[in-house]
């Protein structure tokens, strides 16, 4: 029974093809997590095996070793056009941000540098509405100013799959092909399609990563789920939020929102 996965897949492919046709210079952000792995897979489906744009990792040099290992293997096996963008150090971040949030902000700055240096007009990002309340408010095609600012109060209308694809100079667009997917959908789809997964998601010694981030600000959660089947079973009963192990989200009431309003993914 996976008619709903078919529907999600078809919709995401439609979005990817719209983006590729309408946006001149396009790149995809690859965090190496389960969501952007699924997004890579969908790109291969949409474009019949070959991904026709670069895949970018915003690197803080703080990912876990398994993540780098996975990145290098998949890049080779799938013949990806990988670009690694080194993020600026924490000392250069807004010092008014709480410390953990500041660490996360490095990726925002890395993204800004990437956009400035390569003049990408569109970046595809594998965020989902069910991850976090502010992400729930996103559009599929979400315009940003040059500084990456997100004007949540004045977002474009989006209906009947007509997306905003024309922009004034200096504006780039975030494209979110996975917005309608849930965490559970991603796991069921990964299982159905046999999409490779970083082993950190599977429980070892009673702990697993439910959401992957840098090692200084991400922690594993209690779990015994060591296969995709067990993860799916766990998600159907859990009431722990997905990003519980992401320290920066929970540092203060509005820390994630502050990150996003200035350009975090």
């Amino acid at each position: 029974m996976s008619a709903d996965l078919d529907q999600l897949e078809n919709q995401s492919i439609y979005i990817l093809r719209e983006a590729y046709n309408r946006i001149d210079k396009l790149a995809m952000l690859w965090s190496i997590g389960k969501d952007s792995n699924a997004l890579l897979w969908l790109c291969r489906k949409a474009f019949f095996g070959r991904i026709p744009f670069p895949v970018v990792q915003l690197d803080t040099a703080m990912e876990l070793p398994e993540v780098y290992e996975f990145r290098d293997r998949i890049t080779k096996e799938w013949d990806l056009d990988l670009k690694v963008e080194q993020c600026p150090p924490e000392e250069e971040m807004d010092q008014t941000l709480p410390p953990l949030t500041r660490a996360a902000a490095r990726k925002t700055e890395g993204l800004k540098n990437l956009l400035r240096d390569h003049a990408y007009q569109g970046v595809m990002v594998g965020i989902r509405r069910d991850e976090q309340a502010t992400r729930a408010k996103e559009r599929v095609f979400s315009p940003r100013s040059l500084e990456g600012d997100w004007d949540v109060k004045d977002q474009p209308a989006e209906f009947w799959d007509h997306y905003k694809t024309r922009f004034p100079e200096g504006v780039h667009v975030r494209i979110h092909p996975l917005l309608a997917w849930t965490e559970l959908d991603i796991w069921r789809y990964s299982q159905r399609e046999g999409i490779p997964i970083v082993p950190l998601y599977f429980a070892k010694d009673g702990k697993r990563y439910r959401s992957l981030g840098e090692k200084n600000i991400t922690f594993p959660v209690d779990s015994t789920a060591s296969t995709i089947d067990e993860i799916i079973a766990e998600l159907q009963v859990t009431r722990v939020p997905e990003r519980a192990g992401r320290a920066m989200d929970n540092e203060s009431e509005d820390s994630f929102e502050r990150l996003r309003s200035v350009g975090y993914m």
Binding site: R17, G49, D130, A133, A136, K153
Partner: protein
């Protein structure tokens, strides 16, 4: 439990309690993550308020302070029956585009009305938009029943009023449910205080809604999104919006009229061969021949074609502060096709309070209206009532989506519902009488390559032989047929289209038409080829840019170099040379008479006496 989600939109007037209802639904179905209730309690306490359910949804700082929901938010929850996504649509007037964004994705809608205040202007507007957006499953939630002491009489008044209004829109609510979202009455648990109410609770009603279905039994509409060439395959990609296609089907493409057979349905990482695909699927196909097909064209079966329209009536909603005005031109996007349309008439501006209407000259933000649009190019479309996905569209002004519309009436177009009269004089008879076939000799090339010279020389030579012939020169037609067209990309394309259509008529009448136009873009020439069909002959009059610039017969290169002419082909605008023209004449290498001789040979061979004898199948219908 099925995995497939039902998408619910919750709409209604500001402050009638939508966010509270959602907070309650999440809590009472056990869908809130641990700690959320404590978080909301803390937020409420900090602001000196009693426990506020709406804070569950209002996750953004700005919203919490303003006390209204700014943007549409999607939240997932489950009942015992199935998973849901609820889309919270804001009630505040200026946030209409967010409401449209939310509601257009929904399978079903809950319309929340305050029991004390009754249906207000916003409630009616939202109901009207549900109707416009095509949301057919609606239930009404009469909220804040605690404020009217759960009075059944008050409930009846409010219920009747909204039922009457919805009936005029052709909507029949599945239920009208009295609730108190704040206290949890009739959300999950049945209200003890409204014991006179026997209908479903909110949760029972949600579980009774059905997901929207796309039917594969409707006529096929496969709008192209793109054409990919990953290797030696040429894959036409897109999503089937209705109907079904199979390998081996002959597809026809609108608006070009091209046709070809489906050879394969391509799929990556799919072990079995795919033989058919249906509505909702994003696919790619290959065809048995290379036809001109691009983004925006709609593939369909011959028997159930979309209508080709130049003039259509739409029912629209307007989202921006710049009003829609008569005479203004917008881009209409239907499926993946974009067309320039001009507003001819505002037939009716609809008053959503009482559904009365008045004619007007403009449609303002948040208004709904019926409008007549006119397009220069034929638009392939359907009536929204027949096939919603190819019968509705977005209006774009500059960079922004400014409105949405449903096609409610289509006027006959020159190309569409006109039954073509069969000529009693056949093409073959004309050709026999003239001693040659009709055809379009399309000369393309840079300014100064020698097109006009060659065209006039060919006309003279053919005329002297007794042929029926005429030159359509790019510059000359701009004074008459195409006066009023400028040099924008759209106007240039239209210029070429008109010349191609005119040339085709002359060719049908048996003449050899020599069209002499720079026609720098492949896509424009491909369209001309589609119009001209088999009688179209592309001749590339080729010369180096340097040669052309040196010749500069009209002094245009000099002006272009001086910056006096913008977008001059070869200097500041591209010339796309043909890949496979029927003939290339290199005027760098050939003298004028050599060039003419080569062209005459070609025309003689393809259209002259010898071509008549050899062909029996000249009887194709015009």
């Amino acid at each position: 439990m099925p995995h497939s989600q039902l998408r619910i939109v919750i709409v209604g007037h500001v402050d009638h309690g939508k966010s509270t209802l959602i907070g309650r639904l999440l809590n009472d179905t056990g869908s809130l993550p641990d700690g959320k209730v404590d978080q909301v309690r803390e937020m409420s306490r900090k602001r000196g308020m009693p426990f506020e359910w709406a804070f569950v949804m209002d996750a953004l700082q700005a919203e919490r302070d303003q006390g209204i929901t700014i943007d549409t938010t999607q939240i997932h929850f489950k009942t015992k029956q199935r998973p849901y996504v609820i889309i919270d649509a804001p009630g505040h007037t200026e946030f209409l585009k967010n409401m449209v964004t939310g509601a257009s994705q929904a399978d079903a809608a809950l319309l929340v009305i305050d029991a004390d205040e009754g249906a207000l202007e916003q409630s009616r507007r939202h109901a009207f938009l549900l109707h416009l957006l095509g949301v057919r499953q609606v239930a009404v939630v009469v909220n804040k029943m605690d404020k009217v002491e759960f009075s059944s009489r008050r409930y009846e008044v409010v219920a009747q009023e909204i039922k009457d209004y919805l009936a005029e829109l052709g909507l029949q609510p599945k239920a009208v449910i009295p609730v108190s979202a704040r206290n949890g009455d009739n959300i999950v648990t049945r209200s003890k205080q409204a014991d006179w109410y026997l209908g479903p609770t909110v949760i029972e009603q949600l579980d009774a809604f059905r997901p929207q279905q796309t039917s594969p039994d409707q006529p096929l509409r496969f709008p192209l999104q793109d054409v990919y060439k990953p290797d030696d395959r040429r894959i036409l990609a897109g999503r089937i919006e209705s109907g079904r296609l199979r390998v081996g089907d002959t597809l026809h493409f609108s608006p070009t009229g091209a046709s070809a057979k489906v050879v394969s349905i391509e799929a990556w990482n799919h072990p079995e061969t795919v033989l058919s695909a249906q509505a909702g699927q994003s696919i790619g196909i290959t065809l048995d021949k290379r036809i001109f097909a691009e983004r925006g064209h709609i593939a369909h079966h011959q028997s159930d074609a979309p209508t080709l329209a130049h003039r259509l009536s739409v029912r629209l909603f307007w989202l921006v502060s710049d009003p829609l005005v008569v005479g203004k031109t917008y881009t209409l996007k239907i499926a993946t096709a974009e067309h320039r349309v001009t507003v001819e008439q505002v037939t009716a501006v609809i008053n959503v309070e009482d559904l009365s209407s008045t004619p007007g000259k403009a449609v303002r933000r948040n208004e709904v209206a019926e409008v007549v649009l006119r397009s220069r190019s034929p638009i392939a479309l359907d009536l929204a009532s027949d096939l919603p996905r190819t019968g509705r569209g977005a209006l774009i002004d500059g960079n922004d989506v400014v409105g949405g519309c449903l096609v409610v009436e289509i006027e006959d177009s020159a190309a569409a519902n006109i039954t073509e009269v069969s000529h009693t004089v056949s093409l073959e008879e004309r050709a026999q009488a003239n001693g040659h076939k009709g055809g379009v000799i399309w000369l393309t090339g840079l300014s100064g390559a020698g097109k006009s010279t060659l065209a006039m020389a060919l006309e003279r030579a053919l005329f002297d032989r007794g042929w029926q012939t005429f030159v359509l020169d790019g510059d000359n037609v701009r004074n008459g047929l195409n006066a009023g067209l400028g040099f924008s990309a759209d106007d240039r394309a239209e210029n070429i289209r008109r010349v191609a259509e005119t040339a085709k008529l002359f060719a049908d009448a048996g003449m050899v038409v020599i069209a002499s136009l720079i026609s720098p873009l492949k896509a424009d020439r491909a369209r001309a080829r589609v119009i001209g069909g088999e009688r179209f002959h592309e001749v590339h009059v080729a010369a180096n840019l340097a040669t052309c610039e040196e010749r500069d017969p009209k002094g245009l290169y000099k002006k272009a170099r001086a910056g006096e002419i913008a977008e001059f082909t070869g200097i500041s605008a591209p010339y796309e040379a043909p890949d496979q023209p029927e003939l290339v004449i290199d005027t760098d290498a050939l003298s004028r008479s050599e060039a003419l001789a080569q062209l005459l040979d070609y025309v003689d061979e393809t259209l002259g006496k010898n071509s008549l004898k050899s062909e029996k199948e000249l009887t194709y219908v015009i």
